[in-house]
Symmetry: none
DNA sequence: CATGAATGAGTATTCATTCAT
DNA sequence: AATGAATGAATACTCATTCAT
């Protein structure tokens, strides 16, 4: 009973530290994110930071995991509302891209993480997120294209997911942009749709 | 007259330093590349390095520029030999992807640069390379699809180029790979072809 | 009346903390012994630790004092049983060395303390132990060598006690040992005996 | 030819750093000796320190090695002057102890190193010094006691060397001293002599 | 009194850059 | 021009001690 508040404070501290990690990462970039900065941003001492996380990696890992939880949760909720079963592929794709683009723009953190995927302390969470989208896509297609099963489906989805994500990241990283946003979104949608168009 | 040899030595030194940068970058990765390593690999002193380049960034920038020169040159030559005008899009795409994949695997440098594109000192050279491919693609399509002009061509090419490059980089960065190579290449080719398939 | 239990608890706490100090010191060595480890080993909080001891030094000091109490007590009891008055010097020396060696091997704590005598918070307790052995030795010799009083007795004992203790500590600290154990024990015994042999 | 001054400077820097290590170690003790202190004492930056020594351990190791070189050299020279072949054991022992005691008093460094022998980064140098004295003692005894070969000679020397060194260290560490210096020296000499006295 | 979360000065080590020779 | 020794700010992490609850 006495332990509740303690655990709560603990959870709050962990939360605050992960928040701070996100903030500092978004503001200064992975390269210039130091444990002292994170502690300062969280309003605590470095010592406290190390009471909750064994090292810097663990902080980033926790952030990744939380982010993935949030993304999948948001995605699931959005999907439920969108009722994608009744939605054409192009509409679905456009929605997803628009939402994703807005999210990336709203939070520089995601952009920074995508850009630095290969330097992240653990590859697990990222692969996990990829898997999640792969599975989600697979379910959608199994239902929608029951009549015309798609050849090589997992690989196609793998390509499309990575294509979309990294192309958006690249697009957002260009200042001034090399293309008009509308054109890029259109092209992405067309690419996705084209990849599943029935061909003889 | 006395200046010739000086300029020649100068050019040789610059060349050697850029070579060394490439070597060290490929061997140790951007994160673990130090100016001292580069100077050592070039067989000169750090002091000399700083005589020719104002800082570390400038070295990487020079490397990027040279690489882009080389890539475009190689590409131009290869295109001339392939005579792509007589090649179907799928064949062309498969060739390009296969060659690109082999090149990335053969030289870790390119993979490292692609992965770190957002940390590269200048965006100019990279954008330039993108432009080059964009233009090359545009020419090909203008010739091939004269009858069925493609809507939104630049953006489509932009998407496809980035998709291909970053998806390959992501694929090569996964160990163990999440997909079989053959499947990924097939899916990439299909995606490219699909993006230009005539649809009503 | 209320004070009794408080004092009792207090004594128990102090005891537990000193026990914990001994355990941790033996397990991790003086260098890697932290107050948090000690508190944890004692099953109390660091805060409590600091309620009973002003700082880390005080803990070690208390441990030293207790250890000295124990050692002298044990020694007194053993002496009583051995009846050393009827024992030749070489037999006595060999017994003492054998027992001491076994004790040092059995409990890494003592070895650790001997090795770090100069870093121990207070010299008092250690000097006290030395004094104790000095006095014990003096009594023995006064009785045994009544006929041939030994010149310079205290200093001789001082030298022999320190010689024996530190040589054993040094011997146990060498891995692989530089000498065979049997040879070292023999030499120590001979040294002790030789130091009191009648010479003209 | 150009390399001479460079190598000379290098040697001087190494020397200065080892000197500084000795100074700081003597002044602050092993525990409070930091690389920054050493660099400061040497009048250089930490960076320079790390250009000449891979880590802190290497510095202490170098110091140990130099010290052992100095000690053995001094000992050899002194022995040559003393002509120990014509010296009685007690005279020799008294000389050695007096000289050793003076040296330890003159330079707190040696005292600090002896006290911390078990924490020194490498045991090699110390064992080496021990071996040196062992061998030196052996040679002396083989010559002097040709008629009455000593039983168990190496172990006896081992015991006497460690006894003398650590007893002196202990004696010097006590303030106020527990015994008069003269008495301790006498007792040490007697102990050494007694250990080789012919007994039946 | 007990708790243990919080503190923050302190430690070894790295590396881009400078500058005396 | 060339050298490479020297610099020192920066970084991740530890641990004795304090203090709000």
């Amino acid at each position: 009973m006495r332990k509740q508040p303690r655990q709560k404070r603990s959870r709050e501290m962990v939360e605050a530290l992960v928040d701070a990690t996100a903030t500092v990462l978004a503001e200064r970039g992975l390269d210039h994110t130091t444990t002292n900065h994170i502690a300062e941003a969280a309003g605590v001492s470095v010592g406290s930071l190390y009471q909750y996380f064994p090292d810097k990696e663990a902080l980033v890992e926790a952030l990744l995991e939380r982010m993935i939880r949030d993304v999948t949760r948001t995605f699931n909720r959005t999907l439920g509302e969108m009722n994608p079963g009744h939605m054409a592929l192009d509409e679905l794709a456009r929605n997803a891209i628009t939402v994703g683009l807005a999210a990336l723009r709203a939070n520089p953190l995601h952009l920074e993480l995508i850009r630095n995927w290969h330097r992240l302390p653990v590859s697990g969470p990222l692969d996990q997120l990829e898997q999640y989208f792969l599975t989600a896509g697979r379910l959608y297609f199994l239902e929608q294209f029951r009549e015309h099963p798609v050849d090589n489906l997992p690989a196609r989805l793998y390509v499309l997911i990575n294509s979309t994500v990294f192309t958006l990241a690249r697009f957002l990283g260009q200042d001034p942009p090399m293309m008009r946003e509308r054109a890029v979104v259109d092209a992405l949608v067309d690419t996705i749709v084209g990849a599943f168009a029935v061909r003889d």
